[in-house]
Symmetry: C2
Subunit: 407 residues, 2 copies
């Protein structure tokens, strides 16, 4: 039998598992104290719901579960066998689709708005590479049922509080609204059906510069007047929300005003981190409809959290739109930062070992019970006196804070 875990499926030794538990507890406790409540949804969803969920590239990474019994026989009886008929269940690839289904199913039993936490495993058939697992944990908070920008402000504040408690150092929260970028590009004269591809080029601004952006848009045969308008905006260097406003239509004004309030209010609350406008931020998921946000770690690089507003997703289940916004901490990214940089988390307890002989087990268990309020107490059997020294040395090397000999 094969002793290795399957590709992309991670297992954790005791120290790593304890660190994961401390990290999850810290995030869960922060979220709970801020009035969010945890829920549990199943890891297995219907294949149909998963396929229809507008999850972008993730839809190609779904693990499907084979039908059983008569249903499987019927699917196999056809010639040729149709792959799509072999499965009616699959493993979830994120926590947002299960939450939307859950909310649709239970909305009459839930408070309105509903502020919830999900910390749980998801599955994606990624090509395994550094940091890409096929089974991994996501930590989401969501506010369902409110279209107020107070939801965005609260999510940013609570997510940042959790990241602050973990202690990954400085970070920046970047915020945008997808509708502003689209409106400005359209107002500049880019045709409506090219806005996605123009956004992709615009997002490369950091890497290829203003000239590179213009060049790529010319290659894509965009109208010259629109490219020049965009060039004007880019000339200023950092693009402020005020500058952006000058290139938008009247329709975008209220959206810009809301985004300005979100950013300014969140920044006032921030203390040790900053909240800034990022005109090119889009995020991958097709289901986002408005505000999007991301957290970038300054010391360790990369995105450590991301989210946005998805006002349309629940409506696919209920038929009526329910406003919804969520923020997800990238648990595995944070875990690797904490592990690789030896960041110590609260929650470790003193470790004591009691070495005892077989005939003294009653006394050893009684002694262990006395100590366990203040320490994690392991019983270590010394099966015969000849082995006592060896077992003492081995126990000492295992990193116990205290060793009690009962022989």
């Amino acid at each position: 039998m094969n002793i290795k875990p399957q590709k992309g499926m991670q297992e954790y030794l005791p120290d790593a598992a304890a660190q994961r538990d401390r990290l999850m507890s810290l995030i869960l406790e922060t979220y709970t104290r801020c009035g969010f409540t945890r829920i549990y949804t199943p890891a297995v969803e219907s294949a149909e719901n998963l396929d229809k969920s507008d999850g972008g590239d993730n839809l190609n990474l779904i693990f499907k579960i084979l039908k059983r019994g008569e249903k499987l026989e019927a699917a196999l009886a056809k010639t040729p066998v149709d792959e799509k008929e072999l499965c009616d269940l699959g493993l979830r690839y994120d926590l947002t689709l299960p939450l939307s289904r859950y909310y649709a199913n239970n909305r009459n039993s839930l408070p309105n708005p509903f502020k919830c936490i999900q910390i749980d495993k998801v599955y994606r058939a990624e090509r395994p590479q550094r940091g890409r697992l096929r089974e991994f944990v996501q930590c989401d908070i969501d506010i369902l049922g409110s279209d107020s920008i107070c939801s965005e402000i609260e999510l940013i504040s609570v997510t940042a509080k959790a990241l602050g408690k973990i202690g990954i150092g400085a970070f920046t929260v970047r915020v945008n609204d997808r509708r502003i970028l689209r409106d400005s590009l359209k107002t500049m004269g880019f045709p409506e059906d090219t806005l996605d591809t123009v956004s992709v080029t615009f997002d490369k601004l950091d890497k290829i510069g203003a000239d590179g952006v213009a060049e790529e848009l010319r290659e894509k045969q965009m109208p010259e007047t629109a490219i020049e308008k965009l060039g004007e905006l880019l000339k200023a260097g950092t693009i402020t929300l005020d500058a952006m406003e000058g290139y938008c239509s009247e329709d975008a004004k209220p959206i810009i005003a809301s985004l300005r309030t979100i950013i300014e209010t969140s920044d006032k609350l921030s203390g040790s981190y900053s909240v800034i406008y990022d005109p090119s931020l889009v995020r991958g998921q097709g289901y986002y409809t408005g505000t999007v946000f991301e957290v970038a770690s300054e010391n360790f690089g990369g995105t450590v959290a991301g989210g946005g507003r998805y006002d349309g997703l629940i409506g696919r289940f209920t038929g009526e739109n329910v406003p919804a916004v969520g923020f997800s901490i990238g648990f595995e990214r944070i875990f690797s930062i904490v592990t690789e940089n030896n960041i110590s988390l609260a929650g470790s307890r003193k470790k004591t070992a009691i070495l005892y002989k077989e005939e003294d087990i009653l006394d050893a268990i009684a002694r262990s019970a006395e100590l366990e309020e203040s320490a994690d107490v392991t019983l270590v059997l010394v099966p015969n006196p000849k082995k006592a020294d060896k077992i003492y040395t081995r126990t000492k090397n295992a990193g116990f804070d205290e060793i009690i000999k009962m022989y």
Copy 2:
């Protein structure tokens, strides 16, 4: 899109989810304080390992995961399509097989003996009925690498401590060793190849009585002298270990002596529960090799925990036998007892709601931060003054311990 969870897949509303978390924390904390360490293993294992794992009836309940890409195309290209070639992964049906593989893979990095905790989800394609879920949580502790009966005594004591803290009332720990029952039946004259079917009949003693047992064994055409010998043993009513010893061979004497020590020592440690010999206890899994145990709740009926020694399972991975013994709390059974009987668990915190107007969000978040050491503080937006009374009433009815109005 379908809003219901899939068959046998349970989702949990906030109160139930909080209760599950309290229950898991309580069990985890008890186990950790007693020196067991948590590990994580993946939910997805190779289909081959699962199929070869000697898990009894559970092998018919495995959810298999469809192959992908070229591998799937190759399997579908054959005529007829071979069901077995469609999948090379599956969802685990218990935590013992993954633990055995994990131990085989990591044994050089683990302490010896290794005392570990697994609290995690498993999957079985059960026909859904009351209490039978297809995704459910198991809570296991295991001691790997020691053949001392101190392992059995420690597992019984620690499992009973966890059950005591949960507060499900009185319970009894029933203990047996599979080898004693087999040895006695063989010594009485039942043929070796009938011992399994005779054990099945013997296990019905409580229901059908001594006469019923004899009758069923006659129907199974067992030797009359053996049936009479068994009748003698059963005449006494309660079968003690001493009585059983009179019907065993010399080979069984050391096994009986060990079992007696396990029971007597565990009973001395017990305090509020009793530890008794149950001559007919067998348990279903094929991989058990010696001691088996179960916990029966006296107030709520049924088995709430079970386990045993499985000295052969790890050897299937490593080629050399590693002694191993485990005890598993039936989390879902305990959860339903706790829920149905309103048993309150430690860990609830005061719940406070702050009602605020949109323009006061900065003050509301600041106020919330001041209070969160002592309470879980939810912010509730009052979008306009006309709705204030309605929102106050709704919040009050939602069961908050305190409501603070900021308008």
